[in-house]
């Protein structure tokens, strides 16, 4: 398996397609237009396991606007809306 994290460009998870796999680079709550304050959003994401270095894969998408998404984070599956997933920067 080749590790292409260095060469791949960083994107927010909220823009990724179904089947995307990557590694979390950092969290940037300011970039998500979430109703939550930045600190609260970041805390909740961390509590659900979205921390730097975690492997993510988009498993499923909803029917309206391909939203929300079901994301495999290491060994658990979390459902989030794309709006909040914009805060998760992956590569």
């Amino acid at each position: 398996m080749t590790d292409d994290n260095d060469t791949r460009s960083q994107i927010p998870l909220g823009l990724a397609q179904r089947g995307y796999t990557g590694v979390i680079q950092h969290l940037s709550a300011r970039d998500a237009a979430s109703a939550l304050p930045d600190i609260e959003l970041e805390s909740r994401l961390i509590e659900l396991g979205f921390v730097e270095g975690a492997r993510v894969e988009i498993l499923h998408e909803g029917i309206v606007g391909r939203d929300p998404i079901a994301v495999r984070v290491d060994n658990i599956t979390i459902a989030v809306r794309r709006r909040e997933a914009m805060a998760i920067i992956v590569a």
């Binding site: 979430s34 961390i46 396991g49 309206v64 929300p68 599956t77 979390i78 459902a79």
Partner: protein, 623 residues
């Protein structure tokens, strides 16, 4: 001297199997109540350890941290810290982990350690973890964490033996002096550091094969498919409705005839008079008319608990999130609204899973618009009396079509009201995030389901025995006093307070085509909607139980115009008359205001819909 009661608290993330561990420890020795001042369910159970120590254990709401971002999570934090009012600080906290998914729980445990409370980490569902090839160095984990660690299989007999033994050992040497609480809310960087620490400990002590649960992946490939998933959901709902309406029917008829027979027995045994009337009409038929719905409530809870245990509920919320979002509803509102088709009371109670206050409030406000089972007797009566059973377009039964239309109207108006609430009242409001763990599927455990249904049925019956009972006594009183003068030929009810009130409000209801008899029937219908049927029977002075039910339709067909009947149907789509629902709304929102808002808006809608229906019908010549 006997050792004092040992207080345990169960803490864990959602889906950690906390509740099945709680059920395994306590069996049916459980008490469900509310925490004072808040609407969070407090579940306490009791058991005895192998060494004979009496233990009380409280199942705290699931949480990922001690920050307390919802009323449920605040309870968990305050309880652990001994700050919950009226609660003693737990002697020992059991932190329950799903062994297949330790990351989030180990982080929570590191946070719990700072509270200074004695802790045990319980690695639950250890059998599933072993089967998946996950191995845990239990001793190493205990050493790294500085906390005793024990494995358990809550769903297997004897699966909690190690935990019980450890509880005995630890409780024997508990330090009576509580340790200092060093916990405070974590900053984002501390949170991150704790998660890193948890990940490091897991890397040292747990070996995770890269073998995910293939069953979950296979089921999800169908169940979460954008189109296929919605079809599966529709199918599940269809079966559930069939079950609630078809399976429950024989049981409900049995209960009904049971109460009728009991009423007859009282009627025949006691001398005619006030006591006889009170027992037969007030107590037995009143409380009975509500208890009849027990089979439906049990069946709907059976489905909900099965789907919840299986892990499907989170998926249903995932599928419906954006679809309901169009009407300003949160994905998690789906289940409460679904339950409301059986009865708005469990539906409103189920809104507790919605952590955002405003989303929860919107859901509570529209839940009573879902056509609950109590409207069915009213709809059935009027439809069979006024709507001919003919076929339209060759294959659709007109009566069935009207029934379907009434259900559809309920749903459409609920969505409209939700949309209006979002538009006018909560305008500044951006949608609350939808973040939810989709747990691996698990076989539901019959024992757990049985205990869950038992506790809910008990709560329902308790309410029938208290709130509804007292309402029925009041209504019986209004309909019975003052007594008619000697030699009066009119029905006794004509002289009663109920009739006086009915006639007083008749002018208000005349524009929607209601006569004073309907006005009177609407009063006892306040306690529960279906009571209106029985009340109409009484008002039209028809004798007897079963015959009345058959005859009342004919009586109505001669006394009401079609316009009045249609107006009555329109009224019942919105009818706010259900004292128990209003009481639950007051309790769940903690405010009289929201109860009044619900009552008022439903009353206005009912009046408007009836007014429109009546006048259009009269204009078309149905007056």
């Amino acid at each position: 001297m006997e050792a004092p009661l040992l207080h345990l608290a169960l803490v864990g993330t959602p889906n950690s199997g906390k509740t099945s561990l709680f059920n395994a420890l306590t069996g049916s020795r459980q008490k469900v109540a509310n925490y004072p001042g808040v609407t969070v369910e407090r579940k306490e159970g009791f058991f005895v350890t192998p060494l004979g120590r009496q233990v009380s254990v409280v199942d705290l709401p699931g949480t990922y941290s001690l920050r307390g971002r919802s009323p449920d999570e605040e309870i968990t934090r305050d309880f652990v810290l001994g700050k919950a009012s009226g609660e003693s600080m737990p002697d020992l906290v059991l932190c329950v982990a799903d062994s297949t998914n330790l990351r989030l729980t180990i982080r929570l445990l590191l946070e719990l350690k700072r509270t200074g409370r004695p802790l045990i980490l319980v690695l639950n569902m250890f059998d599933i973890a072993s089967r998946r090839g996950i191995t845990v160095d239990v001793e190493g984990l205990a050493k790294e964490l500085g906390v005793p660690v024990v494995t358990s299989i809550a769903v297997r007999k004897g699966g909690t033996a190690d935990l019980l033994r450890l509880t005995d050992e630890i409780s024997a040497e508990l330090d009576p002096e509580p340790q200092e609480n060093k916990w405070r809310a974590l900053s984002v960087s501390e949170l991150r550091a704790t998660q890193r620490e948890a990940d490091r400990i897991i890397a040292d002590c747990v070996s995770l094969p890269s073998r995910p649960d293939t069953w979950t992946a296979r089921i999800d490939a169908v169940v979460l498919h954008p189109v296929g998933g919605l079809l599966v959901l529709a199918l599940i709902l269809f079966v559930m409705f069939q079950a609630v309406f078809a399976w429950a029917q024989p049981l409900m008829e049995l209960l009904n005839s049971g109460f009728d027979a009991l009423g007859e027995l009282v009627h025949d045994t006691l001398p005619a008079g006030l006591l006889q009337s009170f027992l037969q009409n007030g107590v037995i038929s009143g409380v009975g008319s509500v208890i009849v719905f027990l089979p439906q409530i049990i069946i709907i809870f059976l489905f909900i608990l099965l789907l919840e245990d299986f892990g499907y509920m989170a998926r249903a919320a995932f599928l419906m999130d954006r679809i309901m979002g169009g009407a300003g509803l949160h994905g998690r509102a789906f289940i409460p609204l679904l339950s409301s088709f059986a009865c708005a009371i469990p539906g409103i109670m189920a809104t507790r899973v919605i952590d955002n206050k405003r989303d929860r409030l919107t859901t509570i406000l529209i839940a009573p618009l879902m056509t609950c089972s109590a409207r069915i007797p009213v709809y059935t009566l009027i439809i069979s009396a006024f709507i001919p059973a003919k076929e339209v377009w060759g294959f659709i039964n007109l009566q069935g079509l009207v029934m379907f239309g009434l259900y559809a109207m309920g749903i459409i108006s609920a969505l409209l009201v939700s949309f209006l609430i979002k538009f006018f009242m909560l305008r500044d409001y951006a949608p609350a995030p939808f973040m939810l763990e989709l747990p691996d599927y698990k076989m539901p455990r019959l024992k757990s389901i049985a205990i869950g249904i038992f506790t809910r049925a008990k709560m329902f019956l308790q309410r029938a025995g208290t709130t509804i009972f007292s309402m029925m006594v009041l209504i019986w009183f209004l309909a019975s006093f003052p007594q008619p003068p000697l030699g009066a030929t009119e029905p006794a009810i004509d002289f009663s307070l109920a009739a006086i009130i009915g006639k007083a409000i008749e002018p208000l209801l005349a524009p929607v085509g209601f006569n004073w008899q309907i006005a009177v029937a609407l009063i006892p219908g306040m306690a529960a909607r279906e009571v209106a049927v029985a009340a109409l029977g009484t008002v039209y002075a028809i004798e007897g139980g079963k015959e009345a039910a058959e005859q009342i339709g004919q009586v109505l067909a001669t006394k009401w115009s079609l316009a009045t009947a249609l107006s009555m149907l329109a009224w019942y789509i919105f009818a706010p008359q259900c004292a128990s629902t209003l009481a639950v709304i007051r309790r769940e929102t903690g405010s009289w205001t929201w109860m009044a808002v619900t009552f008022t808006y439903m009353l206005v809608l009912a009046y408007a819909a009836s007014f429109l229906t009546y006048n259009v019908a009269v204009a078309l010549g149905a007056g």
